[in-house]
Symmetry: C2
Subunit: 169 residues, 2 copies
DNA sequence: GAGGAGTTGCGACTTAGTCGCAACTAGTCG
DNA sequence: CGACTAGTTGCGACTAAGTCGCAACTCCTC
């Protein structure tokens, strides 16, 4: 049975299943990541998690993120450096998805298509590569901004969104 | 006519065509990027470029990379943070390609397939998104390392490469 | 060859992320 | 229950990537 919506797993449960020690700090951090409505960076995560457990230290944030990354429970993103050099984190979803970052309004869209899975399969097959993590990030201009600007910001005057429509046929 | 090999353009020529001033520093940096046989990070780029023009300053490296990125003449990569937090740069190719980073031996493979272009087209069409940059990075274990290790490092004892083969059918 | 817009070097600064070590604690075992 | 200990944390100092303002310089045009 397939679902089109992205499901995120319960990180805490996964940790316990793997026999990893649950500390107050880890609990607070994980809950913060899971209940955040958007992608959080390390600094924001620290601030938010401190509301749950004021003891949390910056080093613990990085160490916990490292742990969760290694266990493949979270994904690390750059979001095309829309907001400087920081990294963003999100709980992994049942199927991989890509991120579309609008350089104009800064909005991040998540998108998934069966083609992505097919592409991954082809990568694995053609290169004999065992895939552990995939990161597909797209930067450009979202549909709303294209409509607003009647074309694309970075191409100057030209209505280059039309070109991309053509290319999509 | 399609070619399967990745062609990189002459960055210097592109700059001139766009009426951008060619300075000694920019020339040295661009030549360094184009003649590097692998992906270079900012610090390495500085060191290498100084062999051509000793005046070059660190700030100029970052400013030039920024310029080339904005003009879409180079791509910026993380290579899955295989080597810490630095970014890597390469001259854009005629068709987009993805990077496969082996967590075991550290090798970077470049890979291209028509499926990637189809995926980009689908992203553009389904979301009305005008794509400016795409970055697809894959981390895992390359075929050589899978063969050597008779399975996959990060899955422990299990021969998880077989699982990925199965998934690729 | 002169003029000026654009570029650069310098150096101080910011911010992300790391590390060693002593103190603490979650979970286990008796 | 209470003690034990491997694993985790806080602290604080550190590294490394990247940025910025400003004065000096230089590429390009005329």
């Amino acid at each position: 049975m397939e679902s089109n919506s992205l499901e995120r797993r319960s990180l805490l449960q996964e940790l316990m299943l793997r026999g990893i020690r649950i500390t107050g700090q880890r609990k607070a951090l994980i809950e913060t990541i899971q209940e955040a409505d958007c992608h959080v960076d390390a600094a924001t995560l620290l601030t938010l998690a401190r509301k749950r457990d004021s003891r949390i230290n910056r080093a613990t944030v990085y160490r916990t993120l490292e742990l969760l990354k290694k266990l493949r429970l979270i994904d690390e993103l750059d979001l095309m450096h829309l907001n400087g050099e920081k990294h963003f984190y999100e709980a992994k979803t049942n199927i991989d998805h890509m991120h579309l970052a609008c350089f104009r309004c800064g909005r991040i869209e998540e998108f998934t298509t069966p083609l992505f899975e097919r592409l991954k399969a082809e990568i694995a097959r053609q290169n004999g590569f065992h895939i552990r993590v995939v990161r597909l990030e797209v930067g450009g201009q979202c549909s709303k901004c294209c409509a607003l600007a009647k074309g694309c910001m970075d191409c100057g005057e030209e209505a280059c969104c039309k070109a991309s429509e053509k290319a999509a046929i």
